[in-house]
Symmetry: C2
Subunit: 283 residues, 2 copies
């Protein structure tokens, strides 16, 4: 049974959103809807234009026999600004101040709105990069890492500060926490990462960067490549930063625990323009 354009548009949108960054052949859609590839091509143009107009993504075309179309999630400047402004407002609530100059962020890190927003923003920041896996360390970075991985459609790898039995053989490394200068241990299951994997490191909070430096050392053990480092919030008032190239969404410039004032600003991220190539599809 041939399927109407309107039905196709809804279902194709659903399908592409469920499968970000995965190549879908035109033949797949043509068979799914019993429709000509020329009609499918027209549908894809409409979807691509709509996504781009709304600033939520684009469709990339890979030409040739093994080609097809890929949905690339994106967040435009306007939406990113709104998200970061809202995050800063939420974070500046003085009730969030915890002993040691930490901020209570667990509620934001567990709220799908912020976590998915930050995930899509990080995915936009590395829209042009080949990433095989997102890595974080337990526990608080996991929802964010998972959200980023979801938009990149890659697995998450979670290092741990304990050593649970149910992971099989593991690799452990020691690292120095930058702010407390204490030696800590980080463990990662041997099976969880392949040699040469391209890894995006993600965490919720960075002070001096000791934990992230720990993840970098771990990745050296696995002979994996660090493609990028993304943190939701970075503390700015740091004597010595252990990590150089990282992207932050929010900067925590000062926490005055006596006056109960929290100063926040936009992080150092800079959103690349969305690559809007023309949709070329063959029949």
């Amino acid at each position: 049974m041939k399927i109407r354009r309107s039905t196709r548009l809804v279902d194709m949108t659903y399908y592409l959103l469920q499968n970000p960054r995965r190549l879908v052949s035109l033949t797949f859609f043509a068979e799914r809807y019993q429709s000509a590839k020329s009609s499918i091509s027209e549908d894809l143009v409409i979807i691509k234009q709509t996504f781009e107009q709304q600033g939520v993504g684009t469709l990339q075309t890979i030409p040739g026999a093994a080609g097809g179309v890929k949905y690339i999630p994106y967040m435009d400047h306007e939406e990113a600004n709104e998200l970061i402004t809202e995050l800063c407002e939420q974070l500046s609530d003085s009730n969030r101040i915890l002993p040691g100059g930490y901020l209570y962020m667990t509620d934001l890190l567990s709220n799908p709105r912020y976590i998915n927003g930050a995930g899509r923003l990080f995915a936009s920041l590395c829209a042009q990069q080949e990433i095989d896996v997102v890595m974080t360390v337990a526990t608080k970075g996991i929802p964010l890492a998972y959200a980023v991985a979801n938009y990149l459609n890659v697995p998450v790898v979670i290092a741990r500060k304990d050593n649970k039995v149910t992971e099989g053989p593991t690799v452990s490394i020691n690292y120095v926490s930058g702010s407390s200068k204490r030696i800590q241990t980080m463990t990662l299951a041997k099976r969880s990462l392949k040699e040469g994997a391209n890894v995006l490191i993600v965490d919720d909070f960075m002070k001096a960067g000791g934990t992230i430096q720990g993840m970098i050392s771990m990745l050296e053990e696995f002979k994996a490549n660090v493609i990028g480092i993304g943190v939701l919030v970075e503390a700015v008032d740091i004597e010595e930063r252990l990590v150089e190239n990282y992207v932050s969404l929010v900067r925590l410039s000062a926490v005055d625990t006596r006056e109960k004032v929290i100063d926040l600003e936009k992080g150092n991220y800079s959103l690349p323009a969305l690559q809007k190539e023309e949709l070329v599809t063959e029949e």
Copy 2:
């Protein structure tokens, strides 16, 4: 500028998928697209029919002035069977056997395909329930809990087996691990849960159910209501089960560590039919 139906359909589908179980008023869409509510209603009928035909969800209508439309994610029997069959196949690989009869599942728990699939299946299983929050205990259950919460559009609350400083005041309870009979501690930040909250408990693996019983005890401390308990994999060969009402997606009936054979079957879940009410929208 008035917007074409095809563009509206793509964008509305995107918007609804990004906001599951959230009430969106017809006025919102009418203004977003500068279109008459009657056109919006027709669009919604097309989206609803497509979602239902594909078995991926429905649109629910709340009539009246404060009304609107809600996207309810769903997974039909066929897709659920495929997912569970594939999970069982993946899990039956004898290389997964770890000391103590555990199974290595980390790769599956970090793969968006399985995790989102299981998340959507759990969301379908409680499509008719009011859930305020999904709870799990660190670490391995987090991705699954997050995926379920994403489809339910509610926050995740994560209990921990340590007591990190950055959570603020916490509540701790002791519980007995059912299989090892050891006393363990579980901690949850005081701010993370409101009294009277309706909670869905989610975990990746259940043996006797001690950890889940621990979460139930924790929820009693918070005067919260356990609406349901969902586990990805349950071990069947258990002397004494501590938890009664739970839903599992996969049953691990036997692990023969000597012969390296793993027996798996479909869990005890039973998928309710999708409630397909008629779409009533007023103008």
